[in-house]
């Protein structure tokens, strides 16, 4: 019987290997990530100025590969009434979030900054109102809306309410365009 057992062990360990990649996706960190993940270290205060796009910071956000955090971001997106302006990602008073236009950059740090510090013409600053950890969750969710770097098995499925849009997991990645600031944003 030793051979069969060896086969079993082999199969088992292969399966374990295959699923360890799942760990990152499924972890649930309730107390938030350690302070090192806070944005102070990665987000610089960039003075708003007309002209070419700001340089994008390359450090990664902590939650892009975590399904639970993305779904928490989705909950907060609804709770904090982001849909009021951005609709369900489709855009309304605010710009759409599921297309390829990123006025202030599509990198996690850019979006973090947009949420935390606000943007001219309507985007309020939520820094101090929403904890950094929750902002990172929102960032992960917003990026999942256009499938940017957020793996498909991490993105959310359909909601249990009326459907305004396709589930995030059905989105195809939309490559961000190099876009310039809109005329409205350049006015003082």
């Amino acid at each position: 019987m030793t051979r069969p057992i060896r086969v079993l062990a082999l199969a088992l360990s292969t399966a374990v290997l295959a699923t360890t990649s799942a760990c990152k996706r499924e972890t649930r960190e309730f107390r938030g990530y350690p302070p090192s993940a806070n944005p102070g270290s990665v987000v610089q205060d960039v003075p708003l100025a007309p002209g070419p796009r700001q340089p994008e910071v390359t450090a990664r956000s902590p939650y892009e590969h975590n399904a639970y955090a993305v779904s928490e971001g989705k909950r907060l997106f609804g709770w904090y009434n982001c849909s009021g302006c951005h609709s369900h990602g489709g855009g309304g008073m605010g710009p759409p979030l599921m297309d390829d236009e990123w006025i202030y950059g599509s990198q996690p740090e850019n979006i973090f900054e947009t949420i935390a510090e606000g943007r001219p013409n309507g985007m309020p600053a939520f820094g101090g109102r929403i904890g950094n950890d929750d902002i990172w969750k929102l960032v992960a969710y917003v990026r999942s809306l256009s499938a940017l770097d957020v793996p498909q098995d991490v993105r959310g499925g359909r909601d249990d309410h009326m459907q305004y849009k396709q589930p995030e997991q059905e989105e195809n990645p939309t490559r961000p365009k190099r876009s310039t600031l809109p005329p409205a944003a350049t006015q003082p």
Partner: protein, 643 residues
């Protein structure tokens, strides 16, 4: 095709040399190939059933460890052994594994081992399908446990109620692993059911008419029929859940016309019969063992058979009693109360018949008998609490509390695991050729019996005191601490008893007393062959002369000869009277079931991630099935060559 006369056939030879040659040929025909390849390609029902049992026992132990960890967490209020996230995975995996990976498969596995032996045939009806069933089950087992240890364990309860298990409230892939694992195990359970029905219907030994079928076989057949309906339901429901999660369907989304209660209806339409799918084979085991230990046939054969069939039917008519708290209309709930109470009648009839058997027999208190007696006591307690919670008002208070936890553990452990352990002791000599130790057996039983009651009896009171189930912690102010501590102590006693069992097995395998063909003086056909049985089970297919096949056998019992010995031939008989009807050539050992199972795994696992998995998987499965279906010609059976 060769002419009939040249074909080697089994016959009663006066010449010992000729006889030995004949036997060797038979052995060669039926033996699996050697080595790993032989292991992977075997289609022998005995080796497949042994693997089933071993795999299911691994799940039993792992899920039991889950239970121990949970009991440690609950032993004291506000302890921090497990957080809520881990606890939810622990209890969900415990329930899922115990139901889908232990209880149902092991009951079917015992059937796959013993139904062919008890009806006197050489293999199950579809041996390659049988192998496929095992491989899918193995994949499901590995899949669930690997997921659990990789933190992808399902965490929405083994009932996976929507919308909690839906896409919005269960992010990630945890519930998907649950849904796919369900589909896997159901494939295997359905295959097992088809095997058992066909084997029992078409392959019985001549003379084994319907009214002579052993009660265990009856029980397995009734169970198999229930599986056909119940498991297809849950497989469909879990596919619906998977589609809601994966491709955005709205079966369970109330805002788009879906319905959370639809899931509960479908789940419990399967879920309640599931309990009987586990329990009925256990009653069959009791009926199979009792004659040997009371030295008389089971009292009331016909009544028991009718009770089994009745249970099978009524079992599908009481699912709503799991949903009384969802506000079913009173009229409907009264119907389901009535049917839930009514199902106590067939169970009561069986219990009374067994007690009557013991009463009128000359009981011998060997370990299997102790487990039977323990079963009778525990099952009656579980049955009585079952009648209590069939009542709507009672259920409104006790639903989803520890009272219910106590109830179903009495029914499932008392009603199914006790007979199963009795069956281990009873049939271990047949399977391995060695007896299990009686001394350790008695320890095993008494520890189990005591531990069972210490663990679960206090839970009735916890429920009455208001403790809901599936809570990972509770406040010290509620006064649940002492009873919980008692239950935890009991859980460790059960664990100890299971350890004793495995020690006993290890000891017996190393140096157990040889069993001989029929150590218990039992009455059914599996004891008419060697222990362990040869690959062909019976040298000559036996002929049955009475209900207790061995006890009614005359010294000059007839046997069947004339089956070919150079090909794996089996005898097929008629459905009602088991008259010989035809000969059927069984398939040879083959790798294709394994290939197909791998294809099926590709299909189901990739479906978790993308709908395109259906296409890739279908391609993978097709490869397996083409290989499977393509004829491998032995001995020039091709029609075209014949001209």
């Amino acid at each position: 095709m060769k002419r009939e006369a040249e074909v080697p056939r089994s016959a009663l030879h006066a010449d010992p040399a000729e006889d030995a040659r004949d036997l060797r040929r038979l052995e060669r025909t039926w033996s699996p190939e050697r080595g790993l390849w032989g292991w992977l390609t075997s289609v022998d029902h005995k080796s497949i059933a042994r693997r089933y049992v071993a795999t299911a026992l691994v799940s039993f132990v792992l899920a039991g460890i889950n239970a121990l960890v949970m009991r440690v967490q609950l032993a004291r209020p506000e302890s921090h052994v497990l957080g809520p996230d881990a606890y939810n995975q622990y209890f969900t995996t415990h329930g899922t594994a115990m139901m889908f990976l232990f209880a149902v498969p092991i009951m079917e596995a015992v059937g796959i081992y013993f139904v062919p032996l008890m009806v006197g045939t050489r293999n199950v009806a579809f041996p390659r399908l049988n192998a496929l069933g095992y491989w899918t089950f193995l994949v499901a087992t590995i899949f669930l446990w690997a997921s659990f240890y990789a933190n992808v364990g399902p965490d929405a309860g083994w009932t996976a109620y929507v919308p909690l298990s839906g896409p919005q409230f269960s992010p990630g892939k945890r519930v998907d692993t649950w849904a796919q694992m369900i589909t896997f195990t159901e494939v295997s359970a359905l295959i097992g059911a088809v095997e058992i029905i066909t084997t029992a219907f078409k392959q019985r030994a001549p003379g084994m008419s319907l009214n002579r079928i052993p009660l265990f076989v009856w029980a397995e057949v009734v169970t198999a029929f229930m599986i056909l309906f119940a498991m297809s339901t849950i497989a469909t429901a879990s596919m619906m859940l998977a589609m809601d999660r994966l491709i955005g369907t709205h079966f369970f989304n109330p805002a788009e016309g879906g319905d959370a209660l639809l899931w509960q209806h479908l789940f419990w339409f399967f879920g309640h019969p599931e309990v009987y799918i586990i329990f009925i084979p256990a009653t069959g085991m009791v009926s199979a063992m009792l004659p040997a230990f009371t030295r008389r046939p089971v009292f009331g054969y016909t009544a028991i058979v009718l009770s089994l069939i009745g249970t099978g039917f009524i079992g599908f008519g009481l699912w709503v009693h799991h949903m009384f708290a969802t506000a079913v209309p009173w009229l409907g709930s009264s119907f389901f109360t009535a049917s839930s109470v009514m199902i106590a009648v067939p169970s009561g009839i069986q219990v009374l018949c067994w007690i009557a058997t013991v009463w009128d027999g000359r009981p011998r208190l060997a370990t299997p008998m102790l487990f039977i007696l323990g079963f009778l006591v525990l099952f009656v307690i579980g049955g009585l609490t079952g009648v209590m919670i069939a009542s709507v008002p009672f259920d409104l208070q006790m639903h989803d509390t520890f009272f219910v936890v106590a109830h179903f553990h009495y029914v499932l452990i008392g009603g199914a695991v006790f007979p199963l352990f009795g069956a281990f002791y009873y049939w271990f000599p047949k399977v391995t050729g060695r007896m299990l130790g009686e001394r350790l057996g008695k320890w095993n039983f008494w520890l189990f019996f005591a531990g069972m009651n210490v663990t679960f009896f206090p839970m009735h009171f916890l429920g009455l005191l208001g403790m809901p189930r599936r809570v990972y912690t509770y406040s010290p102010d509620l006064g649940w601490g002492p009873l919980n501590m008692t239950a935890t102590v009991g859980a460790f006693v059960i664990a100890l008893s299971v350890l004793v069992f495995f020690a006993n097995v290890a000891r017996s395998l190393a140096r157990g007393a040889p069993a001989g063909d029929d150590p218990w003086g039992a009455d059914s056909l599996e004891w008419a062959t060697a222990s362990p049985p040869p690959p062909y089970n019976f040298r000559y297919p036996p002929v049955v002369q009475g209900r207790a096949a061995l006890w009614s056998r005359t010294p000059d019992a007839p046997v069947v000869t004339g089956l070919r010995t150079d090909k794996p031939e089996i005898l097929m008989t008629t459905l009602l009277d088991a008259e010989p009807e035809s000969r059927h050539v069984h398939p040879q050992p083959t790798i294709w079931p394994l290939v197909t199972a791998i294809g099926l795994s590709v299909l189901l696992l990739s479906l978790i991630y993308t709908p395109w998995g259906l296409i890739w998987g279908a391609a993978a499965v097709s490869i397996g099935l083409i290989g499977w279906g393509w004829p491998d010609h032995h001995r020039g059976a091709r029609l075209e060559e014949r001209g």
